[in-house]
Amino acid sequence: MVYLQPPDWDRPWQWERILRSSGSGFIIEGNRIMTNAHVVAWAKEIMVRRFQDSRLYPAKVSYVGRDCDLAILTVEAQGFFDGIEPLTLGELPDVRSTVFTFGYPAGGQQISYTSGVVSRIEIQTYTYPGDRRLLAIQTDAAINPGNSGGPVIQNDRVVGVAFQGIPGLENTGFFIPPPVVEHFLEDIADGSYEGCPISDIDLESLHNPAQRNYLGLTSKTGGARIGQLLTKSVQDHLRTDDVLLQIDQWPVARDASVLYEGNQVHAELIVSLAQNGDTIPLKIWREDQEISVDLPVFADRSREFAGNLYRAPRYYIYGGLVFTPLSRNYLSSAFGSNASSQLVYELFHRWRTEPETTRTEPIMLANVLPHPANANLRRKSRVMIDSINGVRIEKLEDVINAIEQCEDDWHTIRYAEPYDFDTLAREKADDAHPAILRTYRIANDRRL
């Protein structure tokens, strides 16, 4: 049972109404409960209950894997774990084998058991982070709201964590498979979660005979072309037009897939299963010869705002102007499905097309809290900031510095294209600032 309170992304110092939700979880070694990250997202209070026990025990979140949608809970109350044998992880189940799901769909007091077969195993978008594609297993066992976090069992071992369905598709549920769960547990073993690495390589299929000839691949049967290299780290090790022949122990096919445990899945899987900072051995075809490259891989969190976040939004308020980063959560909350292509481009695409002009953290003027000092501002909300007092705004700290270091009589706030602007009289805004915070009951003018 979770009492949760998501932030108000437009008014980031405050929170939405308290909601009640429920999910499932299971006990693993070390007196820990595993569940989904989204089950405990924005939780103010988490209560857990054992099967056939009416008592509720307070639990707290120890670790959250935003990208892999997993979380670990602990319960301090004496006796909660008494007499319980923790579940152990099994292997990746075979396609067409039978699995059983356990959980509390739609709440309920009794465990619900369903069975189904493993329909397929491949890379899928994880809906809750929204920006990651990781290994997932599709099953026809019923997975409904409330099942999230529950174990999927085969031969008395956990072979997955139920986590999402696809609206509109019947008999289709997904669970997080053992390799991803193991990765998460291994990651947190050092006391912090870093995340699943991402390659930052555009890996392109290499079917066309002419392209294979061009790359000198006449004697090779597999291999995928390396296209755009998106970070300096990979640019230091690889080149566009390199051909990836093998990643770790897995040969790479022409369609950029590897045969992983009998399942043809995209080679990016191997990167995602490494730990942050690991080095993956690659066999590369470059200039008509095969070479070995050790590629370090990282869980780059600098672009996390392109996915849903589970931490309170950063903000800064000055003179009633509320600045907060543009994020997937903000975009969804403020605009639903009607976000402008300009903001969508800034959030999701610019870093790939124009990396030189990409901002670390695009900043929005989320709101203007009405006060005589700012009453004449033309823009009142939901507009991206280009610069303040001539300083290009790359991140929230730039806003603070530009405003707090200003010695001019006016603050000039320039918005993103078409570059209209507003002017705020500095002295009036300085004077009004404390009163505005009091009026709108804002305890802190910033959360950084």
Binding site: D202, E204, N213, Q228, Y345, R378, W410, D420, T423
Partner: protein, 485 residues
Amino acid sequence: MIPKTAILSLLLSLFFLSPGTAAAADWENSLVRIEATRHTYDYFQPWIRRSATSRNSGLVVGEKTILTTAQRMENNVLTRLQKGGQGEWTIGRLVWIDYYSNLALLTVDDEAFWEDLHPATLAEKIPNSGTAQSVRWHERRLELRELDIDRMKISKGRLANIDMLYLELDFETGSFDRSEIIAIDDEVVGIAIARYSSSSGEKVQAIPSTFIRSVLQAQSESDWSGLGFFNFFWQTTENEATLDQLGLSGPARGVIITQLLSLPGHPDVLRPKDILLKIDGFSIDSQGDYQDPDYGPLNLEYLATRNRWAGDQVPMSVWRDGKAHQITFTLPKFGYENFLIPPARYDSTPEYYVAGGLIFQPISGGLIDGLGRERMPVRIIRHLSKMRPEANRELVVLSGVLPDPFNEGYRSHNNLIVARINHHSITRFSDLEKAFADPQDGFHLIEFTPGNPIDKIVLNASGMDLATRRVMFRYGIQNNPVINN
């Protein structure tokens, strides 16, 4: 092609401009029906040409001259006209069309058609309120319906993203025809171009007769150079602190230039942060309105088309660096070609270049709408409304692939923006021919801009011609490439 001399001779003979000759309301003998057949194109397969037929209203406005809107008159194949609301259709022809003003003129060569037809009068003034009538042929009879004049309003056109003056009327129920005539008593006050819903009910938008008169007069006097526009963005000045900062004391007035849309060959006489105080002698208020002598407060954008044409010199007064300056702004011509992605291309077949099954096209509004705007990736949509950085600059895409053994592995690719072919930069569609004529070591190398799902395609140069011929045969492509230059 329509000979210009023919246009002028027709227009010079118009007599609607002389109020004294206005005929009494005789709609039966001045209103005709137009049936226009046009080519339409499928941008998935741009070599395919289909046709569509639609019916509009037309208004006799002068000797052997019929006025209608430009909508549905593009790519014209056949035009027929009918008088009296029923009976025989007579072949007509388009003598002049302007998509930006959304007006077209037609004539009929058959002398018998003109018997009993009389020009209608285009009103010189339009009231801001009151009642008007819509007039159309409907089910073989002349139908007149009442509408309330709501207001004169500056808004975007239907065929061009240009701010112009429109007559807006309240309309209750029923169907409404494109080009339907709006009249008061015996004078035409507008031609309808659209019906739409707003928060205050159903509306009809019409091109006002005053604008039509000025366009046709400019045409008749060989003075027509097209519509001009203000190639800058501006903001209102209700924020007094901004005016203080820019040193303009006194009551809030004028608007502030925020961004100039530079056009090749057009000097930028304005600067960002100029306060635009007067245009053409009219003072601009802090909301961007001026006091129009005929219609009261109107948005300043109208001053680009209010008896002004492209190339005209417009005096402006601006506040810059703490003092007033008088400048002369030359109105640039509004044209689809000003934009990096031309919003439309009429009266020409879509361009395409099929190479080994790969279909290349210049990006245009037609392509985006044809392939589905909602399916277009943001990497393309974001270029909409950008001006061309230099003359003839175009974006070229690999719009799709026609499956053939030659292009194995590339079939799912579409909407990829081309950067280079065989190391030649592709900055306009006509660059393709030269680029493909220069293969590199036996290969064609097609590179795409950063951010596309793939960055390069390689094809065998030696097999390209054969593959292209095979693809043309299999997919029924008669002409390739089509480059309009």
